[in-house]
Amino acid sequence: MTVLWVALTGAIVYLDTTAVAQIMICQPLIVCPLWGLIVGRPEIGLFFGVAFQLLWLGSFPVGAARFPEGNIGALVATAVAAGIPAAENGQPAWIVLTLATVVGILTAHLGSEVTPLVRKLMSRYSPQVVKAAQEGRRRRFALLYFGAVGIHAGAGFLLTALAFLVGKWIFALYLGPFAALGLSEALVAQTDRMLSGIWPALLGAGAAIVAGRFVQRVSAKWFVLSLAAGLGVGWLCL
């Protein structure tokens, strides 16, 4: 049943990313914590919301450009990780967060192949819509136009469902078939120390992406000033 709800959410995310309105409810910072909140795992939603928001800030859906479907990837990572119970200390195990991060990145890559397919399909679909308008067929025009919204939603639904199921399979492969019932203490203890580094690594990669997006020759001095001020104030507070 979870797969259906994830896929429905994925359809909305996919629509908002490129096709309809683009009011940014698709952003990881919105959709991941919301999913976490709904399934009772807000900490996982916050983790992926922050991490994936940073990672995908550098890419945007422009014209004919191919771009990673990072928003769907973030949702799938959150949903897959939220399916594994917390460790003994009440926190999610780092192995779960690390594996889900990889699943999210791979999903985004898979998604970058889906959007061009939908656009190719629209190249053949669009003339029918124009023809209906030229013939003055109001109903057919509306039906075809909103049918195209359905095609986008369907693509988002299928991509999310497939990625979620593959993600769950990868989890079962690495963590054992009963991972959904909880991880063994030994496994968490063995992996936590090594994989807790995924958080600083994600922050580092994300900070580089944001810096790459904003810092240019003309704004470099503002970057350096705010970095120094941030470090100074933070040093005093911490």
Partner: protein
């Protein structure tokens, strides 16, 4: 006669579906047809006009509202019937400027700035209550100005007609671009500082992992490497840092 406020709002609302038929042949073309359709189907010689509206055009979805207003004005004045070839060339001439200005202001600066500010807040106050405020704030701050911009753009496009690109020469455009760049650079600096402080406050190895991922990703961004492999490389290399730190002293 200027476009009425209601008509401008109506066209702006329909511009939200501009990208539904986005395709490699006409790009957003059919989206402009959808936006103007309620008016077009009541107008004369609509078949020629429909074809002209659905021709190749690609702009930023918000700045495309300028094109919607301008197309409506030019079609009303009979420009499509008078010289369809010139109308098509004019449409194509809008693509570059409307796309570039919209992309550089909204995709490149406004959206990343707002959401990285949200991330910055959540890094220091990681609570779901704070997130609720951040999410509502980001959505309102992002959408309210853009809705107003769409309505204004439709009216302004209609007023300027064929000279719609004059709207992009507004001094505010340049000032906004510069201001958002500076604000973005400041947020990027604060984010980097936050990352350093948060990683460094836990363990030296975490700080090293942060630094390795940052350096590799910065290299990837500057060299324009593919995002997927760059991310996997940066994250993988960072995860190996503790193992290297353990091995190094024994080797020395």
């Amino acid at each position: 006669m200027p476009l009425s406020r209601d008509e401008a709002r109506h066209l702006a609302a329909r511009s939200l579906l501009l990208q539904v038929l986005l395709n490699y042949r006409t790009m957003q073309g059919s989206g402009y047809l959808f936006a103007l359709w309620p008016w077009l189907r009541r107008s004369e010689s609509s078949s020629v006009r429909v074809k002209a509206c659905a021709d190749y055009l690609n702009a930023h979805p918000v700045f495309g509202a300028l094109a919607i207003g301008a197309m409506r004005r030019r079609i009303e004045e009979g420009d499509v019937e008078r010289d369809p070839t010139e109308f098509g060339k004019w449409q194509e001439s809008l693509c570059g400027p409307l796309g570039m200005v919209g992309d550089s202001l909204i995709w490149d600066r406004w959206k990343p700035l707002l959401f990285s500010l949200g991330v910055l807040l959540l890094l220091w106050f990681p609570a779901i209550e704070v997130w609720a405020g951040v999410a509502i704030g980001c959505l309102l701050l992002y959408n309210v100005p853009l809705v107003r911009l769409r309505v204004w753009a439709v009216s302004e496009g209609y007023r300027l007609g064929g000279n719609v690109l004059e709207a992009l020469g507004h001094p505010l455009v340049g000032r906004l671009r510069k201001g958002l760049s500076i604000a973005g650079a400041c947020v990027a600096g604060l984010l980097l500082a936050s990352g350093v402080l948060q990683s460094g406050s836990t363990a030296w190895s975490a700080a090293a992992q942060f630094a390795v991922a940052f350096a590799l990703m910065l290299l990837a961004v500057s060299r324009r490497w593919g995002i997927l492999w760059s991310l996997l490389l940066a994250l993988g290399a960072a995860l190996l840092v503790p193992a290297i730190l353990l091995v190094l002293p024994t080797q020395v």
